[in-house]
């Protein structure tokens, strides 16, 4: 089985950390993983994206044209990338920032999660990426919550390990909202 997820937002939302977390979670589950960050010209501000592909066998292309799952953290990214989600795929959006979902995505499971709000409720806006990861895990079923908890140890630098419990909360928060 081959899974792919595309994550997009603006610089500062922790898109790459989210990608890393999912990667480590997949590794924890014994999968082969390819993590491809994509950065625009202006590395500062601007948009940040990444693609994570994981599979039991060969991961194949690290580049994905129509992702089976997209996690989109801001309006700009939604307008630019939401339409790419493949038929039958899932599009998880940060409804706190993606207000206009004008683009009709038929054949796509659109999941709205007020990620900013959930993060702020948990006390730190910066955990929006953790909320997103939880939402992804729960809705796609591709990765177990436990794997993500484990993954935190590797994805976060030592000095931030004290934040793990809070992050775990955020992951579960996202999950609870997202799981159908």
């Amino acid at each position: 089985m081959r899974h792919d997820v595309f994550i997009a937002g603006y610089g500062g939302q922790g898109v790459l950390l989210a990608g890393n977390l999912l990667s480590y979670a997949a590794i924890h589950e014994g999968k082969n993983v390819s993590f491809l960050p994509a950065y625009g010209v202006e590395k500062r501000g601007g948009s940040a994206m990444c693609t994570v592909v994981f599979a039991d066998g060969d991961t194949g292309s690290p580049v994905v044209g129509s992702p089976s799952v997209s996690v989109i953290l801001n309006q700009l990214s939604f307008d630019k990338y939401a339409a790419n989600v493949r038929l039958g795929g899932i599009c998880i959006i940060n409804s706190s920032l993606v207000v206009d979902t004008g683009v009709v995505l038929d054949g796509v499971d659109l999941v709205k999660v007020p990620m900013n709000q959930l993060a702020v409720d948990l006390g730190d806006l910066r955990m929006v990426n953790m909320v997103a990861c939880g939402a992804y895990g729960a809705r796609s079923g591709a990765l177990a919550m436990e794997s993500m908890e484990e993954a935190l140890k590797k994805a976060l630098p030592e000095r931030n390990h004290h934040l793990i419990p809070a992050n775990i909360k955020a992951i579960w928060a996202g999950a609870s909202v997202a799981k159908a």
């Binding site: 993590f35 491809l36 991961t59 292309s61 590797k154």
Partner: protein, 352 residues
């Protein structure tokens, strides 16, 4: 099997270099390869190695020349414009039969270019961008594991054949993170560097490392000798990967990042019932002619895919049976120009 580590392609190159016993790294920053000098500036000194951020790529390649002449393993890395600046130095190294590893993480060009993945420097790498009709060894990894393994191979082949070796990748392979096994340095038997300049030492005779060959017929003889060495390389060291070529009626061929994307397209094609295979050259120089010659005996249709307007396709055409056909699909480099598996599958269908 040792534990796997999850690292960037560029980091894998740096780790492999250290494992391969590189004594000196000389380089100048340029995206998308700066992770290599950054990693080595941190780790190489710990191993007692030398790291110098040089004032320019020209200085860097010539320091590599000097260190290599002195008998140690030395390397540099760069991209696009920086690789162009190294051409004179590479020509001197080739002319002086000096080993040495050059890592080229290709970026879009010409001119200033940008960090987007590119394969448009295939000719520069394989035809000798420098003067004098020399050739170098060119290895094209398509995964982080290969970035690691082929970097170590580059050092060995370079020492054995006394030809500079290049690891040729792009920002996709260089920036991508994958889990790899940091294999230990292979136990290759390497020739002693009797030719190195170390100070002539009591009694021993003088060593001279030079490209200058002014005697009657001397340079011509050198060209033929190297030509023979390139042939030997082609026979002994050509490497390639075949995927589902057995019964293929169309063989897709691509290297590096493009081969990764193409592989998924081939899988899609197979599941759509199309008999398609993939031939991926791992060594671009020597170019695995034998693989193309063999496959084209049976399969007469090839589709060459590159991130350029077509360069490797010449080598494919020169390698296949005369009655085989080669179609070309190119996505020259630039922002937003990376092909998707879906796109390549379309091309496969069109050419099937």
């Amino acid at each position: 099997m040792s534990e796997k580590i999850f690292v960037k392609g560029n980091e894998a190159v740096a780790m492999a270099a250290i494992e391969a016993g590189v004594a000196c790294y000389f380089g100048y920053p340029i995206t998308p390869q700066s992770d290599i000098p950054e990693y080595l500036s941190r780790e190489l000194p710990k191993k007692g190695g030398t790291f110098i951020q040089v004032e320019s790529e020209i200085g860097a390649i010539n320091m590599v020349l000097g260190a290599s002449a002195a008998g140690v393993r030395a390397m540099t890395s760069s991209s696009g414009p920086g690789i162009s600046l190294k051409q004179e130095g590479i020509s001197y190294m080739a002319g002086s039969e000096l080993p040495g590893v050059i890592v080229d993480i290709m970026r879009q060009g010409p001119g200033l270019g940008g960090i987007d993945a590119s394969q448009a420097d295939y000719f520069q790498a394989t035809r000798g961008g420098g003067h004098g009709g020399y050739r170098i060894i060119v290895l094209a990894p398509n995964s982080v594991q290969e970035m690691y393994d082929l970097t170590m191979l580059a050092f060995d082949l370079s020492d054995i054949y006394r030809i500079p070796a290049m690891v040729l990748a792009d920002s996709v392979i260089g920036q991508m993170k994958e889990s790899i096994i940091a294999n230990p340095r292979p136990q290759t038997i390497l020739p002693e560097k009797k030719w190195a300049v170390r100070g002539r030492g009591e009694g021993e005779s003088q060593n001279v490392v030079k490209s200058l060959k002014l005697g009657d017929g001397e340079m011509e003889a050198f060209h033929w000798a190297m030509h023979a060495r390139y042939q030997e390389l082609g026979e002994k060291e050509s490497r390639w990967e075949e995927y589902q070529t057995g019964d293929a009626e169309l063989i897709v061929t691509a290297f590096g990042s493009t081969a990764r994307i193409a592989r998924t397209a081939v899988e899609t094609a197979r599941s759509a019932g199309l008999k398609v295979g993939l031939l991926r050259p791992i060594t671009l120089l020597p170019f695995p002619k034998q693989a193309y010659a063999a496959l084209s005996q049976r399969c007469k249709r090839f589709l060459d895919i590159e991130l350029s307007t077509g360069q490797m396709v010449d080598d494919v055409r020169l390698s296949i049976a005369r009655d085989a056909e080669v179609a070309f699909y190119g996505r020259p480099p630039g922002a937003g120009s990376l092909p998707t598996p879906e796109e390549l599958f379309e091309q496969i269908r069109k050419n099937y």
